[in-house]
Symmetry: C2
Subunit: 125 residues, 2 copies
């Protein structure tokens, strides 16, 4: 988890991905996605503050969102294409955003995953 | 705004940044940040569904979050370090996430900005 130089004042790690060929049934299942994001919060070792979900468009697409004390986790879905995007962004050495990301991916059952890492740390200058 | 090959089925653009040396007064001003994120939603040409804000820790740090029909916008702040992170992730050719990101940055008055682009599009395979 590289990036920057010097000591980190704030440790922030953001794992995000674009998921192709997911199970469309799960992508339109609001309560399943809420359960998944809550479980992911625990796996990340983050403290859940709030979960919200919103359905958009005529095809059952969903946004499911968790605000955690350590930042946020989101899932956006396009069931009509089997496509979803996932963000797990948590702060603090005590958190494990990669494990939470991998858990969400395992539940959405994609055929292909494009995963990326964003360093959201603050470095001492 | 590169990435992938072939036609885009879903257009998703995610601009995110780490902001150093921001005005600490603004970073702990919940109502100011809510006003800023609402205005950013308009500038992005996105449709606002919900705004939430959460204060965390003893130093007045805030998370301000906007769910839009086209994905999400977030601001996380650490006033004690003058540090903030900003994400503007919107879907659709009609949106302008870069303009919204630049607007938020202008309001937080950082001395240094690390900005990144994440392609969240789905490409035809």
């Amino acid at each position: 988890m590289a990036g920057g130089v010097g000591a980190r004042v704030v440790v922030g790690r953001h794992i995000y991905g674009n998921l192709y060929g997911c199970d469309p049934q799960i992508l339109r299942d609001e309560s399943a996605l809420i359960t998944i994001i809550k479980e992911a919060t625990k796996i990340a070792n983050a403290m859940l503050l709030s979960v919200g979900s919103y359905r958009f468009g005529p095809n059952g697409g969903l946004t499911v969102f968790a605000i955690v004390a350590e930042s946020h986790i989101s899932i956006h879905t396009w069931p009509e294409y089997g496509f979803a995007t996932v963000d797990v962004y948590t702060c603090g050495d005590h958190t494990d955003p990669k494990a939470a990301f991998d858990y969400i991916v395992s539940k959405l059952k994609p055929q292909k995953v494009e995963a990326f890492f964003g360093d959201r740390s603050m470095y001492k200058e």
